[in-house]
C-alpha cells in the first residue's frame, strides 16, 4: 500500500473582499502518495493555484483569507500550526516552484545566495558547507559549470536555467512534497521537455511526492500517475492517468480533451467547443457548477449539486448522468 505523504481533506479557502466573500476552493479532498506525481488540471480561475498556496498557507489569514477542512502532512495537521511552526515546514517539508522564475527569484542576490539561504535557515549549515551543497544542488538540476553559475544573478541566466535554479532552491532541503505550479508554462517546448524530464528524474531519485499544477493535459499525460481535474473550485473528476485519458467521464474533462487539436491522426473539420465560459466566482451557478455549459444538463443538474463518487477503481466523478448510468 502506497504511503500517503500529504492529505487534503475537504479544504475550503474563502477570501473576504470588498465585493463580499468569495470561496475560491470549495470542499477539495485529495492525497499525494510518496514517490508519485499527482497532476492537478483546470483552466484559469478553477482554484488549482489557490489550493496549492493554501497547502503552504501563503495567504494573509489575519485579513483576507480563511481556511476550513484539514491538511495533513504525514498524518499531522498543518492548518492548526502556529505561524512559526508553519515557517519551519515551508521550504523544508513542503517546497514550491512557481511559473515565472524571473519574478520569483530575488534580482539583487546571486542564485547561490538564494539557495544557501534555505540551507542556512532550515539546516543551520555554515557558509562553506552550504556553498558546497549549493554547487552540488546546481549540478543535480543540470546547470552546466555550477561553480561559476553559483555567483551569477538571475538576469544572467536564460529562462530554462532560471527554472532549474528555482528547482534547486526548492529541493535544497530535500522536501517530502514538491508543489510545482505551472513550472513550464512560460518556457518553450524544447526547454519544457528538459524541465519535465528533470522533475520526473528528481521525483524518482529523491522519492518525494510531487503535485504538478498545469493547464496542459499533454504534460499531465506524459508525467503524472494520477490526475485531479478541477472546475470552479471543486474537483469534478479524479483517477489514474490511463483510465482518465482512455475514458474521461465528466462532460468537462471529455470536452477539454476533445477541444485540443491532435498532433497525430486525422484532422477534424472543426474542433470540439465547450460553449460559454467559466463564470465568475461571484456568480457561481446553483446546482452542478458545470451545468450552464454542459450539453447534457437536466433540470436536476441545475437544482442539485452532485457529489464526487467513485465509479470504478480509483476513478471518481461529480456528475449525475455518469453516476446514474453505472
Amino acid at each position: 500500500m502506497a504511503e500517503k505523504i500529504l492529505e487534503v481533506k475537504n479544504l475550503c479557502t474563502t477570501f473576504r473582499t470588498e465585493r463580499g466573500t468569495m470561496r475560491a476552493v470549495d470542499g477539495v479532498s485529495f492525497h499525494i502518495n510518496k514517490g508519485e506525481i499527482l497532476g492537478v488540471v483546470g483552466e484559469s480561475g478553477c482554484g488549482k493555484s489557490v489550493t496549492s498556496q493554501s497547502i503552504l498557507r501563503l495567504y494573509d489569514e489575519k485579513r483576507t483569507a480563511s481556511y476550513e477542512g484539514d491538511i495533513l502532512l504525514e498524518g499531522k495537521s498543518v492548518l492548526s500550526l502556529k505561524e512559526k511552526e508553519m515557517q519551519a515546514i515551508r521550504g523544508y517539508d513542503i517546497a514550491m516552484i512557481f511559473q515565472d522564475a524571473l519574478s520569483s527569484l530575488n534580482p539583487v542576490f546571486t542564485i547561490g545566495d538564494q539557495i544557501m539561504e534555505t540551507l542556512r535557515i532550515h539546516q543551520n549549515m555554515d557558509k562553506e558547507k552550504a556553498r558546497e551543497e549549493t554547487i552540488e544542488m546546481l549540478r543535480l538540476v543540470g546547470i552546466p559549470a555550477p561553480d561559476k553559475r553559483v555567483d551569477q544573478y538571475p538576469h544572467e541566466l536564460s529562462g530554462g536555467m532560471r527554472q532549474r535554479a528555482m528547482i534547486a532552491i526548492a529541493l535544497a532541503c530535500h522536501p517530502k512534497v514538491l508543489i510545482a505550479d505551472e513550472p513550464t508554462t512560460a518556457l518553450d517546448v524544447t526547454i519544457q521537455a528538459q524541465i519535465m524530464e528533470l522533475i520526473k528524474k528528481l521525483n524518482e531519485e529523491l522519492d518525494m511526492g510531487v503535485m504538478l499544477i498545469t493547464h496542459d493535459l499533454a504534460v499531465v499525460a506524459e508525467t503524472c500517475s494520477r490526475v485531479v481535474v478541477m472546475y470552479l473550485g471543486q474537483i469534478v473528476e479524479e483517477g489514474d492517468v490511463m483510465d482518465l485519458f482512455d475514458n474521461p467521464l465528466h462532460p468537462y474533462t471529455n470536452g477539454l480533451m476533445r477541444s485540443i487539436p491532435k498532433l497525430d491522426g486525422e484532422r477534424q473539420d472543426r474542433l470540439y467547443m465547450i460553449k460559454g465560459m467559466v463564470p465568475l466566482l461571484s456568480q457561481i451557478p446553483k446546482g452542478c457548477r458545470f451545468a450552464p455549459r454542459c450539453p447534457y444538463a437536466t433540470d436536476k443538474c441545475r437544482k442539485e449539486m452532485p457529489e464526487l463518487k467513485t465509479i470504478e477503481g480509483n476513478q471518481k466523478v461529480r456528475c449525475f448522468r455518469v453516476q446514474e448510468e453505472v
Binding site: 518553450d188 517546448v189 519535465m196 493535459l217 499533454a218 499525460a221 477541444s259 472543426r270
Partner: protein, 332 residues
C-alpha cells in the same frame, strides 16, 4: 498560376544596439534573409521558439516594421516604393490580430468606437449610421452581441476580447490577416472557440492568414503550409502533413519530438537539444543551428546551407544530403 497575396525576397530586419551617439555598436539580427510567398486563401503557419524572429517577420512583412533590406510585394505591389498615402490604402488590405487581448485594445474606448475608428480613418461608410451598422454586422459575425457595442474592453473576458480584436481586423475587409499568437493567452476551452471562429471567417470571407504561434498542435490544425524558424532563418518549409509526417531539418525533428502528446499510452523518443538558443546579436557562423545540431559536420560551421527543394513544395536549409535526411526521418 496561383495568385500570391504576399511575396517576400530575402527580407532582413536588424535592430541596432547603440551605446551613446553615433554608429551602432552591433545589431540584433532578428530576421536574417527570409523569403516566403503566401498564396491566396491559404493559412501559412510560422512556428519557432521565443526569440526566433517569427513575430518580427510577421510585423516586417506588413511594414509595421521597416525592413533593413529585401523586397516585399503585397498583391503585386512593392511596398517599399509606396508613398505614405498609398501605404495607408494598402494597410486596409493587411490587418493584424495580436496575442495579448488585454493590451491591444484601447481601454478608454468602447468596443463600438474601436470598430468604427478603423472605418473612419479609412473613409469607409457615408455617415455614422452606416458605420454603426457595419460595426454591428461584423460583431454579429464574430459572435459578439449587440449590447457589447457600448462596453469597454475591461468588461470582457480574454476570449471575447480576442473576438473584438478579430472584428477590428476584419471590419476593413482585408485580404491578408497576420495573427500573432492569437490563442496563446487563452484557456483550452476558449482557445478552440477562437480557432473555429478563425476558420469560419476564412471560409466565409475568403481570407488568407499568416498564423504565428509556438504551439505545434494548434499550428498543425489550422495551417495548410508551415515554415519553421530558428534564429532569424527559415529552416524548413512545407505542406503541413508532409512537414509533420516527415520533418527533414534536425531542428524541426527535435522541436516536434519535444511536443508533449495528450495520450499517456504513447511514449515518444525525445531528441534532446543541448543548451539554449544562442543570442541573435552574435549568431553562430555557417548554419545557425550547428551549435545544437546532433548531426553537425565540419562544413556546417563555415558555410550557411542553401534552401533546396527535397520533395515537391518541401524546402529545407541543411547540409545533410537527401539520403541522410531520409534515413534520419525514417529512424524517427
Amino acid at each position: 498560376m496561383e495568385e500570391k497575396v504576399l511575396v517576400a525576397n530575402d527580407v532582413k530586419k536588424y535592430f541596432p544596439i547603440k551605446q551613446g551617439i553615433g554608429k551602432p555598436d552591433n545589431y540584433v539580427k532578428a530576421v536574417d534573409g527570409v523569403s516566403i510567398s503566401i498564396r491566396k486563401g491559404e493559412t501559412y503557419g510560422l512556428v519557432g521558439e521565443s526569440g526566433c524572429g517569427k513575430s518580427t517577420l510577421g510585423r516586417t512583412l506588413i511594414k509595421l516594421l521597416e525592413p533593413t533590406s529585401g523586397e516585399i510585394f503585397i498583391n503585386g505591389k512593392n511596398i517599399a516604393e509606396l508613398s505614405e498615402k498609398e501605404m495607408r490604402k494598402m494597410r486596409k488590405e493587411v490587418q493584424m490580430v495580436f496575442q495579448d487581448p488585454f493590451t491591444s485594445l484601447n481601454p478608454r474606448m468602447k468596443v463600438g468606437d474601436i470598430l468604427q475608428e478603423a472605418l473612419l480613418i479609412n473613409h469607409i461608410g457615408a455617415d455614422k449610421t452606416e458605420r454603426t451598422e457595419m460595426a454591428l454586422e461584423i460583431m454579429a459575425k464574430v459572435g459578439l452581441r449587440k449590447e457589447h457595442f457600448y462596453r469597454y474592453p475591461h468588461e470582457f473576458s480574454g476570449g471575447q476580447r480576442q473576438r473584438v480584436g478579430l472584428a477590428r481586423a476584419l471590419i476593413l475587409n482585408p485580404s491578408l490577416v497576420v495573427c500573432d499568437e492569437p490563442v496563446s493567452a487563452l484557456d483550452v476551452s476558449i482557445q478552440s472557440q477562437i480557432i473555429n471562429l478563425l476558420l469560419d471567417m476564412q471560409e466565409e470571407l475568403g481570407l488568407t492568414y499568416i498564423f504565428i504561434a509556438h504551439d505545434m498542435s494548434v499550428v498543425k490544425y489550422i495551417s495548410t503550409r508551415i515554415g519553421v524558424m530558428y534564429l532569424g532563418h527559415l529552416m524548413e518549409e512545407g505542406p503541413t502533413d508532409d512537414l509533420f509526417s516527415m520533418p527533414l531539418h534536425p531542428y524541426t525533428q527535435a522541436l516536434l519530438s519535444a511536443v508533449p502528446n495528450p495520450n499517456p499510452r504513447i511514449r515518444k523518443e525525445r531528441i534532446a537539444l543541448e543548451g539554449d538558443i544562442p543570442a541573435p546579436i552574435d549568431p553562430p557562423s555557417g548554419c545557425v543551428f550547428h551549435t545544437r545540431c546532433p548531426y553537425a559536420m565540419p562544413i556546417c560551421k563555415t558555410m550557411a546551407p542553401k534552401k533546396r527543394e527535397v520533395m515537391p513544395e518541401h524546402f529545407v536549409s541543411c547540409h545533410l544530403t537527401d539520403s541522410d535526411i531520409e534515413n534520419k526521418a525514417e529512424i524517427k
